[in-house]
């Protein structure tokens, strides 16, 4: 059995440059596509005329709410477990309370009309800013 296989001999054995031109192009390509993706999301956000909060669980929309009214929503139930408390306050949305194991949804940054999303992976819950141009349907939640 060879101690080191040929590819790493090729990479290390020859006194080639540590950082090659091909590396630079590869890394630049990835960086560029990230930036493009970022710009794309920014562009998408600016196209939202009437931002609303869309709450979905298990991939299905469970409620749509305007950002203008302050309110507190309970998703799931505290008794049976698996709940998140969503608060809309001064146009900012946060998850203030949850019983998920990691609580990273509670720690995540508030979102507002500029767009973005908050996710609670254990509860498969997604809060996102959507376009409510078609009129806000009556909010229904648990």
């Amino acid at each position: 059995m060879a101690r080191t296989d040929s590819a790493s001999e090729k990479a290390l054995g020859s006194r080639r440059k540590t950082f090659r031109r091909a590396d630079l192009w590869l890394l630049l390509l990835i960086a560029l596509s990230s930036v493009l993706l970022f710009v794309f999301f920014l562009w998408k956000d600016t196209r939202i005329r009437t931002p609303v909060l869309e709450i979905s669980q298990d991939g299905q929309v469970v409620g749509v709410y305007p950002l203008s009214e302050d309110r507190e929503l309970l998703i799931g139930s505290k008794e049976s477990g698996g709940y998140n408390v969503v608060r809309i306050e001064n146009g900012k949305i946060r998850i203030t309370e949850a019983d998920c194991p990691d609580r990273s949804c509670v720690r995540s940054i508030a979102i507002d009309r500029r767009g973005g999303s908050i996710i609670c992976l254990p509860h498969r819950l997604v809060l996102r800013i959507a376009d409510g141009a078609g009129g806000i349907p009556d909010a229904v939640a648990e």
Binding site: A7, S8, A11, L12, R20, L27, I30, L37, P122
Partner: protein, 190 residues
Amino acid sequence: MDMNRSDKPQSSIPPENLFHTDTPAARIALLGLLTALSVIMGYIEARIPLPLPVPGIKLGLCNIVIVFVLYRFGGLRALPVSLIRVLVIGLLFGTPVSMLYSASGAVLSLLGMVLLRKTGRFSVIGVSGAGGALHALGQILVAAAFTGGTGIFRYLPVLLLAGEFCGALIGFVDLILLRRLKSRRNEHVL
């Protein structure tokens, strides 16, 4: 960060004995040691939560070990090391879901690195940098499948960049490591 801290245990191992694995037993022992090391790195990483709404998403510090194994022993040996690491870390500090997406990140990252390395055009730094970005992509894809929403993709750009940056740093550290061990081996053998 903890790059410096993390490569110390490896450099304290006498390389003449441990990295010149002629017998299968010695090789298995070393790979086991490296797997354990990657689990420790995973533990360290689990203690530093990223300011993201998605739990368990990692920058892939463990790749420091995976890249090393990939270059020293090849992709076929790096795969089990990576998967055992995912399993152990998932059982110890994670949830079944977080285990699934770290597995996805690990496999996608390793697959990409194996292919990029095969081309022979990139150095460890480029390969590892791309591996870091793929690691982020793999995790996000599974996380998106689980939330059933695309909202999570919003975090992809920043994660791709961070993963790429960390990956490139890791590649640099591994390059030094591989060179050091190689030159010592030469001294030993020649």
